[in-house]
Symmetry: C3
Subunit: 458 residues, 3 copies
């Protein structure tokens, strides 16, 4: 009964959608535009974008369409629908690994094993544990809250409504707003992961709280690091005076320190209106290194679909287990330089070149050193497998299940990771005692202790 | 010398208390009322509620009363005092487990053991530790900060004041604003736990920061989960435009996403003024399941006094050690359905029924699965006791003291718990890597490792 | 190219610096002054303080000076420069341990060992680990982000600029805003650690987010504890209405609950304009106890340079390894009483004396008890060394490297610490389950388990 949805209707009333037609939006000066269509369906040109304008788009591809007083409406509005007015952003987002977040987890055998080791039920019998495959509801409630579910029409059901009995689709994996959601129309992703319905507020998308929905845990502590950085402090202390709604976003005038969006997404200009960075919805456009989620930091993958990657050992990993990058699937140094240069354009709007140079030298050193510490942890794990202190992959066992294996995972998934984020944004303690170098160092000692204790045990 | 208390006097001046008489407050339309008395003492009807109006109430029951220029005043204003004008809320609060938070901890033998294991001093001699009973000051500084202290008049002392020498009571367990405080007048609880003196601001009570005072740690990460949820993000990003002071609280108009209070406490109405949920100060009124603080999630207890509960094994627990609920002391399925329906009324103000249905199916699955993972941990602990890897309760030992026992406690007190909160509010990583399923899975493997290592040790 | 630095120029334009001359600032009533010079260089008296006024000061001592269109300018503005107008604050800051944060870490042999154990690379060969000395870039990226780097002129480099080719200094340890930075002019510290350039906003320095930059990790969770305290809740809920810019800062009028600065730094007055506390930039001026960073809480050191301290065992520690304070280097009871009295002046502005008395009795009990729990952990560590379960200092080994030694460090650096902060500010769960007593108790049991398992191993 979303027509009596009070937050949807009032949110929408407060939104820009309710106040300007797509045509008028396109008539704005280029840098001020928030739409990017080449051609607009006639029906949309002259009206503001209300409920029906989105929820009745593309009925032919929407398997979740249902009849509503003679109109075909659908529940799940998708990037394909949004691309009607925001085609450039939708196209960029297709090149964004985030839009592939479902498949990159689900169709990578190694990640599926990791997922299973986290979400599968364990039972205890005869002094040992066994691990079952995770159920669908748990997966939807865990990894897929951020990565996205696969939303499929399972059935139709009749419900009593204000307008009489109506038939609604029954959706699997629903509700979900994960950034890599598989939609009933076959498209990938969910714009409302960041552009929360039904405000669709650019202010909200630009505030760091939005990113924190998915980027706050120990596996990806971006928000936590930002929060204690100087940038984050300025935002917390003085941000209430900033203009989060201005397009383009003018450094020094609209904001005096960056949020996540400033450095990674937004169209930003300097005080004379000169473009500092173009808007991008491919969020690694300004990033040379991929610093989280994998055992070693490495250059960004060429394709947003990372399931195609194979290292020399045949594993779907962008590096060998001992850290060497599989360059065939990764951006080369020239592309890394291009992306770093884009980011430095943003940095040098507020910082001198020597400041920025000093920063990046440190950051790349930290990437190298954290990779080294992961290698050390990996060598201990290899010794554990060799010495029989844990059951290794040679015998077809998972590499994620036993305690010492999970310690190894934390080395890179939590600690190396946190240290790199801290370096990238100067988040002080997240590189030391708050899941940083202290834990990298301690974890190695714990792994060595465990290795020797388990060897005696055999 | 609270008569020269600058924050008290200025806070009060800014409060509604200083601006409206109880009589005028009662004359408001029913849904706008913030008072609920049946009959008011004559002395209070026609004046605004200042210092004396509260601090001189019910002197006969207040053992902490003392003479102040001919008036009997008391330091500790209690729910019994507040009930003079807010009788309905005070009565509801009596049925709220929170008001029993002191006794439910103190008078439950098992919880007293847990408390001792956390707060008692440990010493090390002859290669082993011994555990002493905790001292009163430590208890007041630890568990009782939230659960409440027992505030008793220990003595009287003369102090020099602005008005000459005056005699003041010396109170045990003071200061304290714990929600289950035992007061000198015999009443239970502290309204100022949430309604911070002397603003008594409904705005503050409705903001999630108030709940975070007690509900942020790993044992009850409600605020942390809320913060990274979509609801929390909307509040952080757009909440500064909301009206936190309106009574009733209108969804869509005064607020566009819920805070803790919206779902659990407040009187909320829809855009047409229709009541969506009645105000309640029995916070489990809209909750079917009790998801924290005990080894297994279970239906809410019938009585706010949980010390009366006994399972089949004779333990003061609402489930067996293996998870079966002790239904005799718990609400039945019909009552669970009633409470869930109350909550769904709030949900469906902004979400479709299929959204809400999908959400609750997942949530109840997560309750079941987290209980299973606790059972597995319990079975490992039972094996440890049986095999002599830890000293079990059979020999009269505490079940909370040894390392492997503490690992078991973390399984349910931290990890199962966090996972359920994440499911309830869609707090993404708190159900996975931030104290969620990752830790449930890892902890089981750590317990098994420890079990085997300790068995070899013997 | 900081002359095209958009945030610097717009930040400065919004700052008080751009709006008032030092002379006019000194002509204000004494309590409203934000400057404290005795005599001002003629050149500064009659103009507002712009870029050149700071960046060209004291060229003779600034090794980082370089020629800029005929002027000698320098990059790193230092406390020595700021002292031109803020001499009293600069002098106080010299007595603040924070200004010695670089040396106190670097020139203390024991701390250097701890630093090495955290930041040095570990490698694994022949079933054992080795530890290397940390590299300079890592140190700058880790501990020194807060403690400060040593900024030295390494070289000069020519860069193309808007004004043609210019020669700039190449600085080691740059960028850095650590509070104990060693500057190119030989001075210690960085005012911009808290007074962020180029707003130099007192509002920002008074907000708790500023302190959180360095005081949020598990080693010093001051901000985290504040955030869940009643004080922090009031700030979060109602702080947006406060006046963070007023000098003096009036309790009850400008603010109704303290931030970090209120209790530890700011000049605060009561509602009648009477001084409650003088401004201080020696932040332990109102503190009797030093509660973090060392194995045992103890009275504050007499000198901000703590490298001079030696205990009876010859270690650079303010207590023995078993907890007894080395009083020769520490403030005595009279000075402790003086400092506590200064703090109580702030407390009693809003709380009764009995409230405050009760609070401090609990706090000092918690200091005693947490010291006891550290002693217990220390005794287990001593036993481990004695029994060969770890390699002790007798053989010249570090006391920080092995797993059980790191467990001991966490006992005091994280858990005792967190418990004390929680007690000091009533941060509830940080004294129990959030890195508090739960972990102190569990860690001791884990250490005992490890001790026995490692003994069997030998």
């Amino acid at each position: 009964m979303f027509f009596l949805n009070w937050s949807a209707s009032t949110g929408w009333q407060k939104s820009r959608m309710s106040k300007i037609t797509p045509k008028a939006a396109m008539d704005k000066p280029e840098l001020s535009r928030r739409v990017s269509y080449e051609q607009l369906p006639d029906a949309l040109a002259g009206v503001v974008v209300g409920c029906a304008e989105c929820h009745t788009l593309n009925p032919e591809t929407h398997k979740d369409s249902f009849d509503h007083n003679g109109y075909q409406v659908h529940t799940v509005v998708t990037p394909q629908d949004c691309s009607t007015c925001h085609s450039v952003e939708a196209d960029q987002f297709k090149k964004n690994k985030m839009s592939h977040a479902y498949g990159n987890l689900e169709d990578n055998l190694l990640y599926r094993e990791l997922t299973k080791s986290v979400t599968g039920m364990q039972s205890f019998q005869n002094m040992a544990t066994t691990l079952q495959d995770p159920d669908e509801l748990t997966l939807s409630d865990a990894c897929r809250q951020c990565h996205g579910t696969s939303v499929q029409v399972e059935d139709f059901v009749v419900r009593e409504t204000f307008y009489g009995d109506m038939e609604f689709p029954v959706l699997s994996g629903w509700p979900n707003q994960g950034v890599g959601r598989i939609n009933p129309d076959g498209s990938k992703g969910s714009c409302s992961a960041c552009h929360t319905r039904h405000h669709f507020s650019i202010e909200m998308a630009r505030k760091p709280y939005t990113c924190s929905q998915c980027h706050k845990g120990p596996d990806v502590p971006a928000y936590k690091v930002y929060e204690v950085s100087k940038h984050g402090n300025i935002h917390s202390s003085l941000g209430r005076e900033w203009d989060f709604d201005a397009v383009p976003w003018t450094i020094g005038k609209d904001l005096t320190a960056p949020t996540c969006a400033t450095c990674h997404v937004s169209l930003v200009v300097d005080g004379e209106g000169v473009v500092v960075a173009e808007r991008t919805h491919q969020m690694n456009d300004r990033l040379a290194w991929r610093i989280f989620g994998l055992p070693y930091a490495h250059p960004h993958p060429l394709s947003p679909d990372t399931t195609i990657i194979r290292n020399k050992a045949g594993l779907p990993l962008p590096t060998e287990l001992t850290g060497e990058p599989v360059m065939e699937y990764l951006i080369d140094e020239a592309e890394q330089a291009t992306r770093r240069a884009r980011m430095e354009q943003v940095c040098t709007s507020c910082h001198s070149q020597s400041w920025v140079d000093g920063h990046f030298v440190r950051y790349e050193n930290t990437i190298e050193k954290t990779n080294e510490m992961t290698l050390t942890a990996t060598q201990i794990l290899l010794a554990a497998w060799e010495k029989g202190a844990a059951k290794g992959p040679e015998q077809g066992n998972s590499i994620f299940n036993e305690a010492i294996e999970k310690m190894w995972v934390e080395q890179w998934l939590f600690y190396a990771n946190s240290t790199r984020y801290s370096s990238a944004m100067i988040g002080a303690d997240y590189g030391v005692f708050a899941n940083g170098r202290w834990y990298m160092a301690k974890n190695i000692q714990e792994m060595v202790d465990r290795l020797h204790l388990k060897m005696k045990e055999e």
